[in-house]
């Protein structure tokens, strides 16, 4: 029994230490603005009194959902094509995309700015959505995942006369379900935490999504900032707990091929 308790010590300390900012934020959300002490005014302001915060939250949520779904879709299609339908140049393409995955956003920020300006998309959230949907990470990730699926499955489908799209959607994706879900969650988190693109492509604090807006709230409205921070945690935490099994499987399995 003693040995068991001691084994919990290290992971317990690790887990608590790692979650310190969350606890701190929770504590801040109860701080009073004018008079120090316990106060629920932060929660009241964000949840009941000024609809602006919650509306921005829902809009950001929708935008990130679109980006995540779009990236998963293009990733599945592109990854399936690279892994299963080895067309001319697919290897080169895969390596190209993998290299671009590592490159930071700044490398392509400028030309994107000019391109989006030409398309008149600069001051709308489409400037954030479109590059997000076509990010190479999705294709590379799914190519890795689909490579692990044995070829016999695809050949059987081919013989049954299944069309390309139905092959992808009805056979490949269910077989690689943890990897697809992991991709969805990771790209959601990536877009939920977007900072450089909104600051460059959008004008003015009013247009910012929740991720950057959080940092621009006045420092003397600390409780409001903390409540918004907790609000930002909610979707990510939900996805995390709902898909925990798939995440652990997807990250564990999909890279061993």
């Amino acid at each position: 029994m003693r040995a068991k308790k001691r084994e919990y010590l290290l992971p317990g300390i690790l887990s608590a230490a790692v979650l310190v900012p969350v606890f701190y934020m929770a504590a801040c959300s109860f701080a009073g603005d004018e008079s120090p002490g316990f106060s629920l005014m932060g929660y009241y302001t964000v949840l009941f009194s000024e609809p602006g915060y919650l509306l921005r939250f829902w809009r950001s949520l929708a935008m990130c959902g679109v980006i995540a779904a779009g990236q998963s879709l293009t990733g599945c299609m592109g990854g399936a094509a690279i892994a299963k339908y080895r067309f001319a140049g697919s290897k080169v393409l895969a390596i190209c995309m993998a290299v671009f995955m590592i490159l930071p956003v700044q490398a392509t920020l400028l030309p994107n700015y000019i391109f989006l300006d030409r398309l008149h998309l600069l001051n709308s959230w489409w400037a954030l959505i479109l590059p997000g949907i076509f990010a190479p990470f999705g294709t590379v990730w799914m190519a890795f995942a689909f490579r692990a699926i044995p070829g016999e499955v695809s050949e059987a489908a081919e013989m049954d006369g299944a069309g390309m799209l139905s092959h992808v959607f009805h056979i490949l994706i269910p077989a690689a379900r943890p990897a697809v879900i992991t991709l969805f969650v990771l790209s959601f988190v990536e877009s939920w935490n977007m900072v450089e693109q909104p600051v460059t492509f959008l004008k003015g604090v009013r247009q910012y999504p929740m991720s950057v807006f959080l940092a621009s709230i006045d420092i003397d409205r600390l409780s409001v900032q903390a409540v918004c921070g907790i609000l930002c945690l909610a979707p990510v935490t939900f996805l995390f707990f709902y898909y925990q099994q798939e995440l652990l499987d997807g990250i564990g399995e999909s890279i061993w091929s």
Binding site: S49, E50, L54, F238, F241, Y242
Partner: protein, 239 residues
């Protein structure tokens, strides 16, 4: 058998996560809806005037009721409203400006016309407000004084608010239970939840539209100020 328990555990964990998530997001959604109404109800009500233009010794002065002047740090200030872009529509935003005033014989005050921030020759000045107006606040302009409600009417309004709160909480629990069926892929039950939610939103909107609650009987800072309600009720009894 141990494989089965892992499957079971996963399914239970998913169900719990969905229930919690559904509750949180349903709560947030309803809060969004309610906060639009709360913001409208808690909007300060003001009466404005454009004053009377007079010419004195070749200069134009504008005369106002004395209540239009607000004294801050011993300096006279006027508060005026300006139409600006709000969240859904154009709102009236309060601005302040320090101006020199001169008292008139009939108790009014007048201000030199060039000191006033005129917009196409007019400025809407606040001379009466339910609660002291603050700079940057969004206000609603009313034309005439709302009649003071009788004690019975006030109690009726409060009962209405309280009833709505209780009704909301009960309905939301039912809606939550129905929506949770989506996780078990029982689409019909889940859709019942969606329909109930839409009904709730429509009915609530209608209730808020009809229940015209004057700003005076609502607390100054936040709508959940129970102390204020109790005080107002006991005051109403005295009247």
């Amino acid at each position: 058998m141990s494989m089965q328990t892992i499957e079971e555990k996963n399914r239970k964990a998913k169900r719990r996560a969905f229930k919690a998530g559904c509750a949180v997001f349903l709560f947030l959604g309803v809060c969004t809806f309610l906060s639009v109404w709360v913001q409208e109800m808690m909007r300060n009500e003001v009466m404005t005037t454009q004053g009377n233009v007079q010419t004195k010794a070749g200069e134009s002065w504008v005369a106002f009721p004395a209540s239009a002047i607000v004294w801050k740090d011993g300096e006279p200030r006027i508060q005026y409203v300006h139409r600006e872009e709000g969240l859904f529509e154009r709102e009236w935003i309060v601005h302040e400006k320090r101006v020199p005033v001169m008292e008139e014989e009939d108790g009014a005050v007048s201000v030199p016309a060039d000191e006033l921030p005129m917009d196409s020759g007019k400025v809407d000045m606040i001379y009466q407000a339910v609660y002291p107006a603050e700079e940057g606040e969004s206000v609603e302009i009313i034309q005439e004084e709302t009649k003071t409600l009788s004690q019975r009417e006030i109690r009726g309004r409060y009962a209405g608010l309280l009833g709505f709160l209780v009704f909301s909480m009960a309905v939301l629990v039912i809606i939550w239970k129905k929506l949770c069926f989506f996780q078990e892929r029982r689409w019909q039950e889940g859709m019942k939840g969606v329909v109930l939610l839409l009904l709730y939103l429509v009915i609530s909107s209608w209730c808020f539209e009809r229940m015209r609650i004057p700003r005076e009987i609502l607390p100054e800072e936040q709508i959940f100020d129970v102390v204020f309600y109790l005080k107002n009720l006991s005051l109403a009894k005295l009247r």
